[in-house]
Symmetry: C2
Amino acid sequence: MGEPRISGYEFGRAPRSPVSLDELKELEATVGFTDADRACLRRVGELLNGEVEALVDGWRKIIGSQPHLARWFFGPDHQPDEAYKAAVKARFVRWVHDVFTRPFDQAWLDYQEEIGLRHTPAKKNTTDQAHTPPLVPLRHLIGFVAPVAESVRHRLQAKGLSPDELDRLHAAWIKAVILSVTLWSHPYTRDGLW
Amino acid sequence: MGEPRISGYEFGRAPRSPVSLDELKELEATVGFTDADRACLRRVGELLNGEVEALVDGWRKIIGSQPHLARWFFGPDHQPDEAYKAAVKARFVRWVHDVFTRPFDQAWLDYQEEIGLRHTPAKKNTTDQAHTPPLVPLRHLIGFVAPVAESVRHRLQAKGLSPDELDRLHAAWIKAVILSVTLWSHPYTRDGLW
């Protein structure tokens, strides 16, 4: 089948994460992520398959409306770098699909470290040869879990699910987002404290 | 009225946080925390006022059941340090009440930095003169947002709320927990990346 080519999307070709698979398993236990949640994520993916770009557009609208979030996407002219934003958006959409469909294995783990690095001075801008600020601050990555969590609930609410199924699907999504962002926090963290 | 004395609880007497109130306001916007959420938190506090210790006991049961979470509460004899656990628990319960009732002002901001530091080598063990490992790793602080979020929903579900009110109260709680943990992540973060 093949997926459409996404610029800078290097899933399966990222360097080995310094985080071990054992640490990932422990973290899944901390979050409470189970096989049942994996099945729920697949189901969320089926239900929202045609809405992922709209979801990401909604998040980007929130980002664009808040100067302290938007500025990390600005070029040296203090205007949004539209080429950079478009490249990032395609990969953001792909991250959602990956959460829905991919196992949380070595390749997924490796790529979460890569995503984290791409928000820090180590790798921001390098993928797209952009000239935006060299950082998205960690606090906004963690803080943005809240709107990302809530928006998916709103979309699932339109699907006619039972309250119980809605809660289970939403909980699985929240866990997966927290898991992702926790892994992204790794390159931000002082040595030995992560 | 006066609150019962909690050992090591130094709300209002913590050093000034290096995080500014302006940064806190930005972070509240990122999370989507509004005055309506503040009102919701007060309501959650009224509904769960008698259950906070049970909530915290539930979280500690999860921690105790996972060796990679429990070990940070062990003494040099590799057994749980019960005195330390009891001291920490009382403050954990108090953090919940503070989230329900206190404004997110300078005093609250200062104390979140203090809570973060008390999970890092800078201040862990010093409050209680304990001899547990000098850290709770950041990944488990962020990851534990998930069970803390979900457990409050379960308790609110028993209160006979409308689905809409349940969702609003739960969303406010999630935002407040994410806000807290984001602030706790500050002392863990490399200079300039938070």
